[in-house]
Structures are given as C-alpha cells and as structure tokens.
Point group: C2
Chain length 202, copies 2
C-alpha cells in the first residue's frame, strides 16, 4: 500500500546521487524526514545557493563562485606551471595534497568517440591560448589512467609537441601502502618501467 | 586554496546524509553541480515538498502526507491485527514484502535509558487505546533484535499481558540464503530454539 507520494518522490530523487541505490535512498529520505528535518533544509538550501552561484571559471574551467577563479587570479601561484585535469573533482583532489603550486586547466571531459566528445568539447584552443599568454614552461598531464585518459594525453602531447613547453605525465606505479600481491599486472609493469634510480651515499 | 565557499557548504550539507563521508559528499556535490543540475534541482524541490507536507499519522505515527494514513483508514486491511514497528523505515520494509495484511503502530524509537527515551516518548498509551478501540486480536512485535528492541518487546508484553490479545514476535533464525558457516552463534542458537516440526506425509 502506498504510504506517501511525496516520500516516494524524494526517494526517487535521491537515487540520482552517484552510488545511491533504492535501499540507500529510502534510508536517506526517511532519516531526513523523521529525525533530521533541519539537515534536510540545509541540504535543500545549499543545493539552491550552489545552483544559483556556481559557474565555470572563464579561464581554467573549474566550477566555482567567480568569473575568474581564486587559483587563476592568484598572484602567489606559479604562472608558468599548468596542470591539466579532467574534472573539478580531480582538481579538488590535487589541491587537497597541497603539493602543486601552479595553476590548472580543467578539460571537463576526455576524448571519447563513443560518447561523441571531440577536441572542440574540451576547449583545447583555450588551453593553447593560455599556454602562449602565460608563457607556460611546463604542462603536467594529470588524467585518469584509462583508455580515454591515455588517448587524450596523446592528443595533448601532439598539440603541444611543436612548442618549447616541457610536458610531463603523472607517474604510474604501486600506490602508497600498496601490497605487491594485490597490485594488478599492468600497474606492476608500469612500476617497473617508471622505476627510479636511488642515490648512493658515496 | 579554497575554490568555492558554496561548493564546500554543499559538501558539508551532504555529509548529513546517513552513510555519507567527506569523499562521497564531494563526489555527490561535484557530480550534481557539474553534470546533473536538473537532478540537483529535483532533489532540492523534493526535499522542500516533503518537508512541507509530511507529518506523523495521528493514529499509527507513520510519517506521511495525511492526517490519518492510507493504511489506518483502509477498509480492506485487517483491523484486529496490529504490527508494532520501531520506525517508518521498518514499516516500508514490511510493506514491500506484501506479506502483512493488518495495520501498524510506529513507536518512533525504542526504550533506551542511555538516550533518555522512556515509555512516554513511545506513545504507549495511544497503542493501548488503539488495541481497545479496534478490539485487536493479535499484536505482532516486529522490533530489531537488539538490546533496546528486546527491552521494548518485554515492556510491551508486560503492558499487554492482562488483555486477551495474542502477542507474537518475529521469528529469529537463519536468514534466507544464509550459510550456516557465516551465521553468528547467537543467531544459530535462536534458530535451534525456534525450530519448527515438519509435517510428515502419512
């Protein structure tokens, strides 16, 4: 017997979230409505505020609150070091490491003939423009190590080949804390080919 | 470097959802804002509609759109059979089985001295009132098999002991598809004590 159209509608809406199936959506909806109405309001308000204010940075393409994002307009970050990422999410992950001091370019996708995503969809001309304007010295390609990621990397390499820009790619190898027994063959092969000579104490 | 206050606010808000940690919240927020704005709007609208319309049924306590819920006001469901559940969520789970044809009473909690939940918080007097009004013949206690669930079951048994109402409790035993090797000791013990004699073909 149907209990409530509106609860069912909320359960269906929550299934939109990545990784949320029917059971989890039900749990979330009933938790919000029975014990956490303030939380529900907060989520709804945060979504509305974000939807009203968020837009892509005109320069690097990251989604944020400003026309030109904090990183692109920063005076303290290296202007001649550019990291190319697939998505805002990847940019967030790299920022969390506090390891990278340059600027970013967000492709917002990867080349994929199946999904009909070509070079024009990735704003490659804007990327070339930024490289020339800022006199970029090094481009770090930080794309996922998937078929589409590799294809896009090679396309970018091809596009930038004639410039003086140094082009690098994230290292592939054994993850930190990884056990060799559980690392797949391809990763292990890559870890061999990317091995680095250790310095000896002479 | 902070990219966007509003994205951070949304990530923090999504962490309110049960089972959602910082990584998942980030993934959800960026997925909604970069590739699924319509979905984000739908979630926000569904939350607002549900918050505006949802209230507890005056009779059984289930959260729903009506003053008296569809089940309590149904003419087709057994009026003298009452299933006591902890939460709306448990009621949804039982309804999904389509096995139960009676009505419900939702305690919206379990007795818990630690969380300061006493009998008055569980509307026990309303439960007794319903039992008398409807001339209930059987009460099925369908509470979680936890310490609080058991304590609440015994309390309910004590309250209803002097009536003529038949009181039963959900069976405990091996779950459907369960492997005896992976069933814990307590469950196995319970399965022995709840065993049922099989009928012989004479």
């Amino acid at each position: 017997m149907k209990i409530s159209e509106n609860i069912d509608a909320l359960i269906n809406a929550l299934k939109i979230l990545p990784g949320v199936g029917p059971k989890t959506a039900k749990r979330m909806a009933l938790n919000l409505l029975s014990t956490n109405k303030q939380g529900a309001e907060l989520i709804s308000n945060s979504i509305n505020i974000a939807l009203d204010t968020i837009r892509p940075c005109q320069c690097c393409g990251v989604i944020n609150d400003l026309e030109i994002c904090n990183i692109c307009s920063s005076k303290t970050r290296d202007n001649d070091l550019l990291c190319i990422v697939e998505s805002t999410s990847d940019l967030f992950s790299i920022e969390e490491t506090r390891e990278f001091s340059g600027k970013y370019f967000v492709l917002n996708g990867l080349l994929s003939p199946i999904e009909n995503i070509g070079p024009d969809d990735l704003r490659i001309s804007k990327l070339i423009e930024i490289c020339e304007e800022r006199n970029v010295k090094e481009v770090i390609i930080a794309l996922n190590s998937t078929l589409e990621g590799e294809a896009t990397s090679y396309y970018l390499l091809d596009k930038l080949e004639k410039t003086d820009i140094k082009i690098s790619k994230l290292a592939q190898g054994v993850p930190a804390g990884g056990d060799l027994n559980y690392v797949d063959n391809n990763t292990l092969k890559q870890a061999f080919s990317w091995r680095r000579e250790l310095e000896k104490n002479k």
